[in-house]
Amino acid sequence: MEFVKELLVFLFKLLGAFASGAALGYVFQVPRRYLVSSGLSAAIGWAVYLLAGQAGWNLVWVNYAATVCVALTSQILARKMHVPATVFLIPGIIPLVPGGGMYLIVWSMLYDASATSAYFNETLQMAGAIALGIFTVDTVFRVAFRRKGRS
């Protein structure tokens, strides 16, 4: 029973990720027929984020794994549908951007100055992990599909 409840909560969160991914796609003017895919890319990234977090991974690795999955999904979808990968990459990455970390840095400045540097470090590391994730997948695809098409 407990497991079913947890699963439902998990799926509900994925639905939230899907909705925000598709909605952000709309805000960025993604063509209508690709909105579902951009929502999907966000949901996949968040699924990995939640599962890796549940498995007790370090936050940096969690972000890295989630970004790699989003970037992979985007590149594969982009090649299948012949559109630039950005269309799926940007809506997929945004939920992972450490907006919470940025907020906590500021919050701690006002209410708990001793925690600021820890939050700052953590946020910077998460941003670095995201950058590294995009780097990794871009590089792999560039080597694999050298001079064949645009990523």
Partner: protein, 268 residues
Amino acid sequence: MTDHGQNRPPEPYQLLYDAAMLAGTITLESGAEIFRVEDTMRRIMGLSGLPSVEVFATTTGIFATLADHSDPSVPSITQVRRITSRANNLSRICQVNEVSRELCAGKIPPEEAIRRLEEIRTLPPYPKRWVMAAILLSTMGFAVLFGGGPGEILGAGAACIAMQAAGILLTERLDNGFMDSLLKTVVIALATDFCCVLFPALNGQTIIISAIMPLVPGLPITNAIRDTLQGDYNAGLSRAAEAFVIALAIAVGSVAGMGLFRLLSGLL
């Protein structure tokens, strides 16, 4: 577009050059990565078969040359295009990509490509009210994915509506990324604190983070990373600066909003 009088270059080169310039301008104005802009233009200009194809794009302008230095009968074409307006529009990037692919595959002539590119440029974006609704939906989605309950979802929605109302009233005329994000975040912080005073059981952190997320500079960050990887350090740095400025505005805005609320509630 350029008229060199008697030196006017043969039509096909000029047409390909114009198509490339137009494609580059549209993609750059729509927030594409620099390497995509340069790659698209180079491919289109490369169709001319001339040996000298040079493209240099930055976030604020394009320079391009099409020439054959070994053959003096072919006049060289060089133009500079300044990019002043920018609005993120992934749809235009997609469409230009499609036209460029068809042109490079020989499916359409340059004239047809230019006509379609001009058309892409005049295509209206999604209606404003639906974009605002989408921002609201994404905020509520963020509240869900950050583990908020029904209260937090509604609270984030309320903060988002307050932010968008402020956007219409204050920042629409501002035309300045920094002040725009700053004022919007102030409003979000005030609205969140207000919600939390009314309903103390709410998790204010989830609400404020969810409402801030649509303002987070996701596109500049992604493009900064990808441009840097391609060796476009110029574009990477300027995109990173853009992302940093917006992040700073959000940080300052939320401090100001929270501080302002503390001040106001102290007065009452």
